[in-house]
């Protein structure tokens, strides 16, 4: 191919509409390019990434016999793939492309036009210097194991798993808790349509459990992930339920007989209700199999349960209870991975001024969901102040909802908006109005962000239902007086529209707690080599164009682990992640990084520094016959190598080098850019 001939470079400077052209003197850059060695063609164009733009390049490659191409335009992180493809289509090796970033690094960040133009020239010059030394690389492919591992079985995980399974591929779903469903299963109604959360979720949960292509592992955790795109291996710990999965019929007699029945706060009910030590998280739980909580169960924690021994085992006619059961390790192989580990709600205790820890009539939005849910501890009645047994209690008359608790709040380190609170509080206000027609309801807000489909309409409807919206962020909530019979709370707040300080009363306060990254986010990061964005949620490969991809090939994100979302957005992203994973699964092959390290055996001193440095264990020392002498030299595993180049910086003699980023390709860039 023409690449072997002496370099013939084409330089294409993009105006990017006016994005570059309005700051950088593009013609001047083109002219400068033409003065550089090896440059045969230099052109400017409005949009190089457009078809006509790309055709310019293709035609020149064909007609002018170009064998190196330089695109001076936007960031290579944006369009490098685009133009590599262009070269390929014109029959040139895609790695004969070099880009000069004169938009993100010049026109968008520099005001001084002259200086910007000079810098653009330099960057093009550096690109030429490197292009002269580029070499053809070959793109290899590896087979993709036709299966996907989904971590987390909330609505995101469920949806992604179902889509991939329906496409005919094997899916492993790993859920940490005893049941699938995630946070959505805790919700009562969903905004703005008010359809019952359980009613729309439960069928999907069941499909998940029954799908022939899906292997569901609840109460399980991934402990180790190795391998690379197309060929991942995962070690999964199936925690002991102490209940024989196959024998348990889910009848529930065990729970009724448990000595701790109704004495353990239920996670599912946000501790508004109680459960037994052997339990089903909630009635519609999937799988409908009981689990023993080893921390609480007397038999497991104390080693003794009553005089006659464990009552649950006694009661279980199926003989499913098995205290000897042990954790089980399973190892699976998969080609792709979808991370859908969800979120935690903001811990209201971190806003002590709101008194959530002190007053039982200050509750979080999620607690409210359980309180008003027909399947909840109060059968749907918003009863407060119930006793230990859950008896008694009163219905509130003055209900206050507070926005942005733990969101848009630098003081707790959450600068972001949680995107769901405005609407779920509106919905909850509506539900209260429904259940307590006479209650007076006030919502304290900073702004109301009703941006979604049907949101504004719903917000308007709620307001017309006599819910009062006060613009103000409460500074403090405290009990009006010590009398235990009087539940009245005082909300100190400034109505910022009328600039009047209020001390409003309420006997029920609902905190619109925001969404946060999970507490165990670190473990997951280490497990899958993910990175975090500033807000602590997982970082996608590109905020606009690769919103479900991660930096690691074959690993995708779905749902709130990537950032707060409502249900429709979560489902949409889950489907996106599924289709991304399906691309690899359907195509059956994954491209292997071409820009990887190689060893020049004759220069290698066999010290093994590179072996020690390589984060992927991609390098080993092997015997080499050097003119009759057996010496050790480094050898690179081409699939494991990711081309980071740490080896090259550790190598004393420069014997190991990452392709496209070799010393001899970087030094000329330094030579050009270093000169003042």
């Amino acid at each position: 191919m023409n690449s072997s001939r002496r370099p013939k470079i084409g330089v294409y400077v993009c105006h990017c509409g006016i994005n570059i052209g309005s700051v950088v003197d593009v013609p001047a850059v083109v002219e400068h390019a033409l003065s550089l060695p090896g440059v045969a063609v230099a052109r400017e164009y409005t949009y190089m990434c457009s078809d006509p733009g790309q055709n310019l390049v293709k035609d020149d490659i064909k007609n002018e016999g170009l064998n190196r191409v330089i695109i001076a335009s936007c960031s290579p992180r944006m369009h490098e793939p685009t133009f590599r493809k262009t070269l390929k289509e014109a029959g040139l090796n895609p790695y004969f492309l070099e880009m000069a970033n004169i938009r993100e690094q010049v026109s968008w960040v520099h005001e001084d036009h002259a200086a910007a133009t000079e810098k653009a020239k330099k960057l093009v010059e550096a690109a030429v210097a490197k292009a002269l030394l580029l070499e053809a690389l070959e793109e290899k492919e590896v087979d993709v194991i036709p299966s996907c591992l989904v971590i987390g079985a909330g609505i995101a995980g469920i949806q992604a798993a179902l889509d991939i399974a329906d496409a005919g591929f094997k899916v492993y779903v790993v859920e940490k808790t005893p049941s699938v469903g995630g946070h959505m299963s805790q919700l009562d109604k969903t905004f703005p349509t008010l359809d019952c959360s359980a009613c729309i979720l439960t069928p999907k949960m069941v499909d998940l459990a029954n799908h022939p292509n899906i292997e569901l592992m609840t109460y399980s955790q991934v402990e180790e992930v190795t391998g690379f795109v197309g060929n991942f291996k995962a070690k999964i710990r199936k925690k002991a339920r102490y209940v024989d999965f196959s024998k348990c019929t889910g009848c529930g007699v065990c729970a009724e007989n448990c000595r701790l029945a109704g004495r353990i706060p239920s996670e599912f009910d946000e501790a508004m209700g109680n459960r037994s030590a052997i339990y089903l998280p909630f009635p519609q739980a999937v799988p409908a199999k009981y689990t023993i909580d080893p921390e609480r169960c007397l038999q497991l924690s104390k080693g003794k349960c009553g005089k006659e021994g464990p009552a649950c085992a006694e009661a279980c006619t199926a003989g499913a209870v098995n205290f000897e059961q042990e954790d089980e390790m399973v190892e699976i192989e998969c080609g792709t991975i979808i991370v859908a580990t969800g979120y935690d709600v903001f811990d209201a205790a971190r806003k002590p001024e709101y008194g959530w820890s002190d007053y039982d009539n200050v509750i979080t939005g999620l607690e409210f969901e359980r309180l008003v849910s027909a399947s909840g501890p109060t059968g749907g009645k918003p009863l407060l102040g119930r006793d230990k047994k859950g008896e008694g209690g009163y219905l509130p008359t003055k209900v206050a909802f507070i926005h942005c608790v733990g969101s848009r709040d630098k003081s707790v380190g959450n600068e972001y908006c949680s995107r769901v609170c405005c609407m779920y509080l509106a919905k909850q206000a509506h539900l209260i109005r429904d259940k307590l027609p006479d209650a007076d309801i006030t919502v304290y807000y900073m702004d109301v962000r009703a941006f979604g489909k049907g949101f504004e309409e719903f917000y308007d409807r709620v307001r017309r239902e006599g819910v009062q919206y006060v613009r103000g962020n409460p500074s403090e909530i405290y009990k009006k007086n010590v009398d235990p019979e009087d539940h009245t709370l005082i909300i100190k707040v400034e109505d910022t529209l009328t600039a009047t300080a209020l001390e409003a009363e309420a006997d029920m306060v609902v905190l619109g707690v925001g969404l946060e990254p999970r507490k165990d986010v670190r473990e997951i990061i280490d497990l899958f080599k993910l990175s975090q964005s500033a807000d602590g949620f997982f970082l996608e490969a590109h905020p606009k164009l690769r919103p479900v991809d991660t930096a690691s090939d074959g690993i995708y994100l779905a749902g709130c682990c990537q950032g707060p979302k409502d249900i429709p957005d979560t489902v949409a992203q889950a489907k996106a992640a599924a289709s991304s994973a399906l691309i690899l699964l359907a195509y059956g092959k994954a491209k292997v990084e071409a820009q990887i390290s190689f060893v020049s055996k004759d220069e290698c001193r066999g010290c093994g520094f590179c072996v020690e440095v390589c984060p992927f264990g991609a390098i080993e020392l092997v015997d080499e016959n050097r003119m009759g002498n057996i010496v050790k030299v480094a050898l690179v595993n081409e699939v494991l190598c990711k081309g980071c180049g740490s080896c090259a910086a550790a190598c004393l003699s420069g014997a190991i080098q990452p392709r496209s980023y070799k010393d001899e390709q970087i030094l000329p860039q330094i030579a050009v850019l270093g000169v003042r």
Binding site: R605, G654, L667
Partner: protein, 327 residues
């Protein structure tokens, strides 16, 4: 004190073995205060071996200096062992060479020579003048006794001994298969006072110093070649593609060369000070190495050439590594 008879007997023993190819040690020099490294291939030569205060060179250097000669077709490479005599400081080179897999431990037979200090040729010449006749030096208590042109001369040990010995922490070999003499007491320690003193200067003062030093450099590469750690097949410094440093001798290239040389010894320099000793234009090369040695010790609690099991400094890390200055 090392009994040369005993040393030669041990050497003879070793050289008589069929699995030994050569033995590296010291021999009397041809003039002045010189001794000469010597490579013996036959037991009959052992009488050439000496050990006295002139034996400053580091024999470990000559293990890695030996080229792997092309083996003619049909012949087997000579894989017999190499025996080497080493002082305490020299032995650290062996340790580091093992850390860097220069050869297998089984490939070498190390004859350890406990040492009480060696003479700095330059100091001696300054004091007693140079001479065409080889000078014999022996140690008597805290004095050196020299025979210069037949005349006996004396000098306090402290005035003739090499700088490295004044701060010697390892007078006894750290790795050996046999000792040719009894171990000796450690008599000195290293506080890096010289490094601190130099570091105390302003950037301008420092550069003024180095500019003068580096401009003397004739780029003979003796400092690199004598270094027991420098045995790359192809050294980046003299590489043509890419060319890190140009052959031109000017302040720019000379400085780059010396920084590169020092950098490549970061966490590897075992302070035998050979680089500085061999310099024909007296560049205080160790001033760079010792700075790194000190910082490596302080920042990473790391000392090269003392533990065969150690990981190479720059091929490992600690998540808690210091990072002041990092924005």
């Amino acid at each position: 004190m090392v009994d040369e008879k005993n040393l030669r007997d041990k050497a003879k023993e070793v050289l008589e073995r069929d699995d030994v190819r050569r033995l590296i040690g010291w021999a009397r020099g041809t003039y002045g205060y010189e001794s000469a490294p010597v490579v013996l291939k036959d037991a009959s030569e052992v009488d050439k071996l000496i050990f006295d205060p002139t034996c400053v060179q580091n024999p470990a250097s000559f293990i890695t200096l030996e080229e792997k000669k092309p083996v003619p077709r049909g012949q087997e490479p000579d894989t017999r062992k190499v025996a080497v005599l080493v002082k305490g400081c020299d032995s650290r080179a062996i340790v580091q060479q093992l850390v860097e897999k220069a050869y297998d431990r089984e490939g070498v037979i190390v004859l350890g020579v406990p040492c009480t200090g060696v003479v700095d040729r330059r100091k001696a010449a300054k004091m007693f003048g140079d001479t065409s006749e080889p000078v014999e030096i022996s140690e008597e208590g805290d004095k050196y006794v020299l025979t210069v042109n037949g005349e006996k001369k004396e000098a306090p040990k402290a005035e003739l001994v090499a700088d490295k010995c004044l701060r010697c922490r390892y007078p006894n070999p750290l790795v050996y298969d046999m000792l040719v003499a009894d171990e000796v007491e450690k008599w000195a320690d290293d506080e890096f006072a010289d490094v601190d003193e130099f570091a105390g200067q302003t950037p301008e003062e420092k550069w003024k110093f180095w500019e003068e030093q580096f401009s003397k450099c004739i780029r003979c590469y003796s400092c690199r070649n004598v270094c027991p750690m420098c045995y790359c097949v192809e050294c980046v410094v003299t590489k043509q593609k890419p060319q890190w440093t140009r052959r031109a001798t000017d302040i720019s290239e000379n400085t780059a060369y010396h920084i590169q040389r020092a950098w490549h010894l970061a966490g590897r320099c075992i302070e035998c000070m050979e680089c500085q000793r061999v310099c024909p234009v007296d560049i205080p090369i160790m001033t760079l190495n010792r700075k790194l040695t000190r910082d490596v010790k302080e920042m990473f609690e790391y000392e090269p050439g003392v533990d065969v099991e150690a990981e190479p400094l720059l091929a490992c890390y600690n998540p808690q590594d210091p990072e002041e200055y990092i924005m």
